[in-house]
């Protein structure tokens, strides 16, 4: 079971009340397999985390695992065991906006 923390706007869009969601992920825990699992559970989030066509991460989002920014790692690189085991959550974070 993998834990994923989504930005509030996406939780509103998908009617998710809890701060984090728990997902079964097929195969090794990677950025791609986690986002695949998020989109499978919440199809309304398709296109909001990665582009519909290019499948690339949207530019104002970042992915964090175990306090490390993994946004620029390969989407198929294995994530730390603590993510795979659910000990640590996988963070999807929107760029900070102030004003």
């Amino acid at each position: 079971m993998i834990r994923v923390i989504l930005p509030q706007n996406l939780r509103i869009l998908a009617n998710i009340e809890e701060r984090e969601v728990k997902l079964d992920v097929a195969g090794p825990a990677t950025q791609r397999s986690i986002i695949d699992a998020v989109e499978a559970r919440y199809p309304e989030l398709c296109g909001t985390i990665r582009d519909h066509v290019t499948r690339e991460r949207r530019p104002m989002l970042r992915f964090f695992a175990c306090e490390e920014d993994v946004s620029h790692d390969s989407v198929d690189a294995p994530l730390p065991e603590k993510i795979a085991s659910g000990e640590e959550p996988f963070f999807i974070v929107g760029a900070i906006a102030g004003g």
Binding site: L13, D36, A40, L45, G47
Partner: protein
């Protein structure tokens, strides 16, 4: 008794304002889609309970929302778990993909720039089918759904109308106006900042620029066919060949479905502005909100005035009763004015300061429905039985 439902898109969500036909007491619901930019919300004239909303975000992209109960509840069309052949969810309802290789348009500095989808600015439901809707998008193109917004297909013939010459206005290269001709289902008018106005007479297969008579002094050739920053076009449904346009500068009129235009700015204090609309029952009565200039996006003298012409342009009168006449520095954006079709035509507009004003007597008197919403991007109104 009749009723009205005002659909308001703002920088931080959508709001639904409802009243009976007197338009004095209002109920406010929202924010719907809190925190998201709602560029446009519009209902079907065939089935008024069917409403579509464009929800977008610089972070998370484009989402299309649909209501089938007059805005009480919403869904992302096709939002259930759909599997493609590859086993992945489809999520088609939010997917706007240009057909073929769209190539390039001009960037601000005149260099070629790739076409990139950014957001939906305007949703125009069909006049005959609640499941058919047109979407005007940035970078400029027109899409259509025929399945209630579950999936969208571009009408690529529009980009054949000299698309590589189009360039963005300051707000982006947006297709912001879609007018369906109620007397001719094959005729559609659209406008793009800053490409101009276009018309199809074959249901969207082919398009032609309709800009003869426009003059834009910022262009190297001020009367060129392509490049005019059209802000908004409006028509009266009883007389769809007569169009009124608020351009970057100039208020214009066409009596031949856009083939030729002439200026009708007349005695306006400034002919810059964004919105324009036509009275529901008087085809020669037109409304604009003059804005000081293209670098000063607020009313002249800090006085918020709607100007009304009862002569189809040229002669304009300021409408001020109930509107702030000092220290007012809001803007009224291009999609933020609408009229209802009650016997005594109601006129509505929203401001970047978060006010939505109504006049239940064709503009003579105004009052705020709400004062403190987020910046208003769009206002539409439905007249209900």
């Amino acid at each position: 008794m009749s009723a009205v439902r005002v659909l308001v898109g703002t920088r931080k969500g959508a709001f639904v304002l409802t009243s009976d036909g007197k338009r004095q007491k209002w109920e406010v619901s929202g924010p719907h889609f809190a925190g998201w930019e709602i560029y446009h919300v519009k209902g079907s004239s065939v089935d008024p309970n069917r409403i579509y909303a464009s929800q977008s975000s610089s972070w998370f992209g484009q989402v299309i929302q649909r209501s089938s109960d007059g805005g009480k509840t919403w869904e992302t069309p096709g939002g259930g778990v759909q599997k493609s052949a590859e086993g992945m969810p489809k999520g088609e309802s939010n997917k706007f993909v240009y057909i073929g290789n769209p190539g390039t348009h001009q960037w601000y500095d005149g260099t070629p720039h790739p076409w990139e989808f950014k957001r939906v600015w305007h949703l125009e439901p069909s006049l005959s089918d609640p499941d058919t809707v047109y979407a005007g998008v940035e970078d400029a193109a027109i899409f259509r759904t025929t399945d209630g917004a579950q999936s969208w297909t571009e009408l690529p013939g529009l980009r054949d109308a000299q698309g590589p010459k189009w360039q963005p206005g300051a707000g982006g290269m947006c297709l912001h106006t879609i007018l369906l001709d109620p007397s001719n289902p094959d005729r559609i008018f659209i406008a793009i900042s800053a490409a101009g106005a276009f018309r199809t007479d074959d249901g969207g297969k082919s398009w032609k620029p309709i800009t003869r008579g426009l003059r834009s002094d910022f262009m190297p050739n001020p009367t060129a066919e392509i490049g005019h920053c059209v802000h908004r076009i409006a028509l009266n449904k009883a007389r769809p060949d007569v169009l009124f346009m608020q351009k970057h500068w100039d208020v214009m009129r066409s009596d031949d479905a856009g083939d030729n235009w002439r200026e009708v700015s007349g005695n306006l204090p400034t002919d810059f502005g964004f919105c324009i609309d036509v009275h529901a029952h008087e085809p020669e009565t037109v409304y604009v909100v003059p804005i000081k200039s293209d670098s000063e996006h607020y009313p002249p003298e800090g006085k918020l005035r709607v100007y009304r012409s009862r002569t189809g342009g040229n002669d304009w009168e300021p409408l001020t009763k109930g509107l702030p006449q000092s220290d007012c520095y809001v803007n009224v954006l291009r999609d933020a004015m609408a009229v209802d079709s009650l016997d005594k035509c109601g006129v509505y507009f929203g401001t970047t300061g978060g006010q939505v004003y109504v006049s239940a007597d064709s503009g003579d008197n105004w009052s705020p429905i709400v004062r403190d919403l987020p910046a208003v991007l769009s206002v539409e109104v439905q007249t209900l039985p």
